[in-house]
């Protein structure tokens, strides 16, 4: 501490260096290398994600989502290192970062709400799973008789109605779970909400819309051009794009509150190398979304949910035409379907809670990074303010 004079001038020299635009400093080269690596890693990770999908199944399975979140965490960690490590804090407060970083942080806060909505949404998916499990339990009781079929049918109807729910609209799904009306019911309101499995506590705040949130997140998401495209503006843009993509994929897969009007197109410039795989994935998911939207079935693009739906419909058909004791061939088919259904339930059982935990992990990580960036921003801001 006594050598403050020396220290002062030494540090002054360093900061003057950093301010030079064209610098032959080795430091600068290292930074460029880091940025390149970052881009390459992003490209690699998304290429992996793309190749782990198959053309037949839908992209958004539980397993794939978990991979996606993992990839996000890796990208995020690298991004933070590129942005913060070994840097003069005041760099982040200089243009254009003085605008870009706060925008990024704003997206981060929005992403946190999406994480919460998605975690809630996973509970809805667990609900589908539980209904499906009833169906499995019913049909696994051999021999299949009228009782089992009716039981399964009841659960299947609930399942189909829940899946068909149009978010944000008033729905009559609840009524069906009552098998009959009741005289002397406490109140009509109670009755109508009685069977409502989509209980109030699972929703986000009133008026919150996942679609709008994603839209807000993608506002101002513009690729840096010209002089800005070197330096830190680019990784900020890359990370922002990744974040928006991941949140969007979550919202598309999992039933979150109010997804009407979900964006299906993002303005990611097609020529950007690192973005190629992401763009392909985006296109495929958007395709699936549009297809589903046409059929008015938007409970989620999650592959497991979709398979649940397909099997459910088929089993309803079977149930409707069932007459004891049933044809052997048909029963065999049904047994196979039930077995498949059971498989899916198992996958859901094993995968949904870990998925929720991962979403929570993403939440934590993102909060932590935001805090660190804010700290650095504050420091940098102070350093540039004139002191005595």
């Amino acid at each position: 501490m006594r050598a403050t004079d020396n220290q002062g001038s030494f540090l002054n020299r360093i900061s003057i260096r950093r301010n030079q635009v064209v610098s032959m400093d080795g430091n600068h080269e290292q930074e460029l290398e880091d940025l390149d690596l970052f881009q390459k890693h992003v490209a690699d990770r998304f290429s992996d994600l793309l190749s782990s999908t198959s053309d037949d199944d839908s992209v958004l399975s539980i397993a794939w989502l978990r991979k996606l979140l993992d990839a996000f965490l890796c990208c995020e960690a690298e991004f933070k290192a590129v942005l913060l490590m070994g840097r003069d804090p005041s760099q982040i407060s200089k243009p254009p970062l003085d605008r870009l970083v706060p925008e990024f942080l704003d997206r981060v806060v929005k992403a946190l709400d999406v994480c919460n909505a998605a975690a809630h949404g996973v509970e809805s998916v667990r609900h589908y799973q539980k209904l499906a499990e009833i169906v499995v339990a019913a049909f696994e009781q051999k021999p299949i008789g009228d009782g089992q079929v009716r039981r399964a049918k009841k659960a299947l109807n609930s399942l189909m109605l829940t899946l068909e729910d149009k978010e944000g609209s008033t729905h009559k799904s609840a009524e069906r779970t009552w098998s009959f009306g009741r005289r002397g019911a406490p109140s009509n309101k109670d009755r109508s909400t009685a069977g409502n499995f989509r209980s109030l506590s699972w929703t986000m705040s009133k008026g919150w819309s996942a679609a709008k949130q994603i839209q807000a997140m993608s506002a101002n998401l513009v690729a840096p051009r010209g002089g800005e495209s070197s330096g830190l503006a680019l990784p900020v843009y890359i990370m922002s794009t990744i974040m928006v993509f991941v949140m969007w994929a979550l919202v598309a897969a999992i039933p979150c509150q109010e997804r009407n009007g979900l964006l299906t197109h993002f303005p990611v410039p097609r020529q950007l190398g690192w973005a190629q795989s992401m763009i392909v994935l985006q296109d495929r998911i958007a395709e699936e979304w549009k297809k589903k939207k046409e059929k008015n079935k938007l409970a989620g693009l999650l592959e497991e949910t979709q398979r649940l739906e397909r099997l459910g419909l088929s089993l309803i058909e079977f149930s409707d035409s069932f007459q004891f004791p049933g044809e052997a061939e048909r029963l065999e088919e049904v047994a196979a379907q039930v077995s498949e259904l059971s498989e899916i339930c198992k996958k859901m059982e094993e995968g949904l809670v870990p998925l929720q935990q991962q979403i929570r992990e993403v939440f934590h990580r993102v909060v932590r990074s935001r805090t660190e960036i804010l700290d650095v921003l504050d420091q940098g801001g102070k350093m540039s303010a004139p002191t005595m």
């Binding site: 220290q7 009716r150 039981r151 009959f180 805090t371």
Partner: protein, 614 residues
């Protein structure tokens, strides 16, 4: 070997009972409820179910019995569907949300019908201790012993459903579970109880706010919400959730494996997460100094609840809730630490350069001292949260002049106390910087004197603060204060009194009496001018503290008056013997004494001083 007909007769009767109540088949079945009819009907129905159930276990798959097996299964399904509706109906009939007024201590502890557990035993654990104004030592010590579920004295379970209804529900649940309809049972239970919990939440004023909402609100609005949340959360955990858990146990105890737990989680998982989301949103909000105290309140409120949370959510499946609560607590602690750090930065960097007129107390000084006074009020919590010493030096290394703080001499102080001392150190450092903006050096010293004095008085005025800062450091501060006063005296009065010195006045020579009249006249003129200027200027300066003001004036007088008196005494005759003595001897000693009283009052005085009367 019984003839088939005999075996079937009771079964037929049972079947008939069940089919009679098949709601898909008859209007009448739809309009009435079994469990609202007389007990005989209820018993008959349940017995019928049992008989069919029993028969199922002895059915084989061959030929004719296959048909009857199918029939039995079908009948059971009809019964189960019916029972599900009955179950739902009974629950719905008893779904009144918990009344907030019922959380009054007299209502709960005096009412024999409510909680029958040992939670009543400690009479001193009143419900109004749930109020966040009381730091409940009892709760903290009692709840540290968590060997049994009911040992937390602050948990208050209410019987949500009367015992007859509970028995009915049990009788239904038993049958549903043994018929393999466990899942349906859990579903129907959860769907109804969730509504009840939601209604309670609404009564308690628990809002659903997104993180974005919380970021956008003004902090003042949030403070109100935090206060409300702390109260509501206590009721939620200790009464609402605890009572739901009890209800699950009452209905499902002994039925299936961990069914009570599944039902409990089905009911409260969502609401619990929703409850904590608010606290989490607060813990992530941007840090700024004014948020410290409410965040500490929130931290303390949540910490108070953790033992109860751990008890109510003790099962494996509710681990995520316990984990989340712990995470939020730790984030709040981090936020508090971060804010303190922010605060210290802000004090050091506060950049205002406009000098405070009159050299009085700077608003920064007031703000900082008030702030750390409040901090000392929260010392119990902060002593636990603040574990590292303040970072001096390295963070500010690019700033060539940084305040220094030797920790060696501050041995034995808690990290929090060190931080408070550090704050005072950097406050002074900042003030010194500000003092340099005064053009008049004397004013700079006065400014420092005023402000350090304020600091000293504030510390002395708060026992907690004084105890943490310590008398050693207080002595140091007082020393600085005196130093500033001395500096001021020197800066102003050395000059003035210089004109009253002896040297240079005496001339050796044969004609004169030994004193240079011209030099003397110059001296008097110079003294008058300087004094007038000082008087005019420094009357507008301000020392807010009365005692300090008087002390300084006395110090001035002690230097000024004797010197002038002696000078006058020795040399007035020389002036009076010359022309226009009134031009040179303008002031009497009394005049000066009176003038000194004008100093540091903070407003200007008239320029017309009384002339010395001849």
């Amino acid at each position: 070997m019984e003839p088939p007909e005999d075996k079937r007769a009771p079964l037929d009767a049972a079947e008939e009972v069940i089919l009679r109540w098949d709601s898909t088949a008859s209007e009448e079945a739809r309009e009435r409820m079994i469990f609202e009819s007389d007990r005989q009907e209820v018993d008959r129905y349940l017995q019928a179910v049992d008989e069919i159930q029993l028969s199922l276990s002895s059915v084989s798959l061959s030929g004719d019995e296959q048909q009857s097996g199918n029939k039995a299964n079908s009948t059971i399904q009809i019964a189960m569907a019916r029972l599900e509706d009955e179950f739902r109906n009974i629950l719905l009939n008893h779904t009144s949300p918990i009344e907030p007024d019922s959380f009054d201590s007299t209502a709960l502890s005096a009412d024999p019908g409510s909680s029958s557990r040992s939670s009543i035993d400690t009479p001193s654990a009143e419900l109004d201790e749930l109020d966040d104004d009381h730091l409940n030592e009892e709760d903290l010590s009692a709840s540290s012993d968590r060997s049994s579920y009911r040992s937390t004295s602050s948990i208050r379970e209410i019987d949500l459903v009367p015992s007859e209804a509970v028995l009915d529900l049990r009788s239904i649940a038993e049958r549903m579970v043994s018929a393999g309809y466990l899942r349906e049972c859990i579903q129907v239970y959860g769907s109804v109880r969730k509504l009840a919990v939601d209604a309670s939440f609404r009564r308690l004023g628990i809002e659903k706010l997104s993180i974005g909402d919380v970021q956008r609100l003004e902090w003042e609005q949030l403070e109100t919400k935090i206060r409300r949340w702390i109260r509501a959360a206590k009721v939620c955990v200790r009464v609402v959730f605890a009572s739901e858990k009890k209800l699950c146990e009452q209905i499902f105890e002994g039925i299936g494996t961990a069914v009570d737990d599944a039902c409990f989680m089905e009911t409260v998982k969502g609401p619990a997460i929703q409850l904590f989301n608010f606290a989490e949103a607060i813990s992530i909000s941007r840090r700024s100094p004014e948020k410290l105290f409410k965040i500490l309140d929130l931290h303390d409120g949540l910490m108070d609840l953790i033992p109860d949370i751990d008890v109510v959510f003790e099962s494996k499946s509710s681990e995520s809730i316990r984990v989340q609560a712990a995470e939020i607590l730790s984030r709040l602690a981090e936020a508090a630490r971060g804010i303190l750090s922010e605060f210290e930065n802000a004090v050091l960097r506060e950049p205002s350069r406009v000098p405070v007129p009159g050299g009085t107390i700077h608003p920064l000084t007031r703000y900082v001292m008030n702030y750390i006074s409040l901090i000392s009020d929260y010392k119990q919590t902060l002593n636990e949260l603040i574990v590292s010493k303040p970072s001096t030096g390295t963070r500010y290394s690019s700033d060539p002049t940084t305040p220094d703080m030797e920790f060696a001499e501050l041995e034995g102080k808690t990290p929090l106390a060190l931080h408070l001392i550090w704050v005072i150190v950097i406050l002074q450092f900042n003030l010194e910087g500000k003092s340099k903006h005064y053009k008049d050096l004397s004013l700079a010293h006065l400014f420092m004197m005023n402000n350090v004095h304020y600091i000293v008085e504030k510390v002395k005025g708060s026992p907690e603060l004084r105890e943490m800062i310590g008398d050693d450091y207080l002595k140091k501060l007082t020393g600085k204060l005196r130093q500033a006063a001395t500096n001021y005296l020197r800066a102003t009065w050395v000059r003035v009194l210089y004109s009253l010195r002896d040297e240079g006045l005496h001339v050796s020579g044969s004609f004169s009496s030994g004193v240079s009249k011209s030099a003397l006249r110059e001296r008097f003129k110079s003294f008058n001018a300087m004094f007038e200027e000082v008087h005019r200027t420094q009357a507008t300066w301000l020392i807010p503290d009365v005692q300090l003001r008087e002390e300084l004036r006395i110090s001035i007088s002690e230097k000024l008056i004797p010197a002038y008196r002696s000078f006058l005494g020795r040399f007035r005759s020389h002036i009076e013997s010359g022309k226009h003595p009134e031009n040179y001897i303008k002031y009497s000693v009394e005049d000066l004494e009176a003038a000194v009283l004008d100093f540091f009052e903070g407003f200007p005085v008239s320029q017309h001083l009384r002339r010395r009367s001849q």
